[in-house]
Symmetry: C2
């Protein structure tokens, strides 16, 4: 097993660039999964890492040791604790990182039956939470405008808890083109909606467009969506974008149940 002890190691320097930089992740077509939970979720979906990196202490952790045994032919590298910590955003060091290839996206919306169209979602926690909800609800694809946070950043990966591995994630998507070619119905919450979410027929091929946390959807995208309102009987009429997305996709689950 290789053991990296120096920040000057070329492979290590490449990993460091990858973890901090969306452009670098895209250029390399790779990202890092941090922690046993994400690596286990990746394995459960048939994924095989390019490389596994761990601390010495992590080898004593039964969960990590078991995961490493699942990938006998994947190269493993031992990292000094300080070097590992620099690659991780977690306060409590997980001790396990997997270098993985980004999957190839299928750009054709007409092959999706149930999807999200995300316009300029900027908070990584919100974005990850939406991917998690979409995966749980049985969406097959998520299309992201170029103004969205990087879907493959450590924060988004962590928040999505494995949702990435069961979704067709299409970044830099032209959402107007997606809506035009989808073929099913694209719905969007709008104050101009004359029906409630609960009155929409969501049993067929359905997409939901979700707008930026502050600005909402652009008028151009709103114009090609079927508008609905989420009834809010409370005194505050406002929902977090990820909460709104969860309510929408699980109303579709309810109708299909």
């Amino acid at each position: 097993m290789k053991h990296i002890t120096s920040r000057d190691n070329a492979f290590y320097k490449g990993l460091l660039k990858l973890t901090g930089n969306a452009r670098q992740r895209r250029k390399a077509g790779q990202t890092l999964l941090d922690g046993a939970h994400l690596v286990a979720a990746y394995h459960a979906c048939g994924g095989k890492p390019l490389h596994l990196l761990h601390t010495g202490a992590a080898l004593q952790n039964e969960e990590v040791a078991e995961l490493l045994r699942l990938f006998p032919d994947v190269p493993q590298t031992l990292l000094d604790d300080a070097l590992f910590a620099e690659l991780s955003e977690l306060k409590t060091v997980s001790g396990l990182l997997a270098l993985v290839a980004l999957p190839e996206a299928d750009f054709a919306p007409e092959r999706s039956g149930f999807c999200l169209l995300l316009e300029d979602i900027q908070d990584p926690g919100n974005l990850g939470s939406m991917l998690r909800s979409a995966a749980a609800a049985g969406c097959d694809a998520v299309f992201l405008s170029s103004g969205c946070a990087d879907a493959w950043s450590p924060k988004v990966l962590r928040a999505a808890m494995g949702g990435h591995f069961v979704l067709n994630i299409v970044e830099d998507a032209d959402l107007l083109m997606v809506a035009a070619h989808f073929g099913g119905s694209v719905f969007a919450a709008s104050l101009a909606g004359k029906v409630t979410l609960f009155e929409c027929d969501l049993r067929g091929r359905v997409g939901f467009a979700i707008g930026n946390e502050g600005a909402g959807l652009t008028a151009e995208l709103q114009a090609v969506c079927q508008p609905f309102i989420i009834p809010m009987p409370g005194q505050v009429e406002s929902l977090n974008a990820a909460s709104a997305a969860a309510i929408c996709v699980f109303e579709a689950v309810r109708q299909r149940n």
Copy 2:
């Protein structure tokens, strides 16, 4: 108008303690609202700040100037930019802070008709998002176990977008006592549930218990709740706690609609 230019000012030192420290907020019975949006929401709910603090630049902002005019008899203090920035967590300085009194909580669950019971919710963003969803759905109360993040911290206030001002927020609640005295039905998601959320009758007096992000509900609390499952047809069976809460309270909204 007073003008504070020194970090040694006693009033300023008190504010600084307040913004960083939950214990201090409870001791003083006060917190700070950061930004025009929160202050406007507070005003819309009939709130009147104890004190308003702003930068010089903020006076040129029409939204801030209008808000200040809404409270002609509230003392106002001008803060030097650097001092203001220290009181704020926001990267882009809002220029307006309101010192407000924490409302008195009503500890009696039997006076609630629709509420959340939050057990050890630790992420401030999740907690704020839950308060926001609860307020939008028409909940009247949220009971928090002592293991929850501080409900009146700047991060939670920001994420809840005014939800605090229309809810009875009860911190350090004994959730077993709340469930015992509530009188209505307390529901909780559970793998042991034999019915789906959508099959539960949520039209009466209803509470939802939401567990810690990692550990879920304690067995003790789970045991006194009516269990249900949220059907997850996707390949990943997992939801963010705030997303789950949103799905639950808006299913109640749907049934009552």
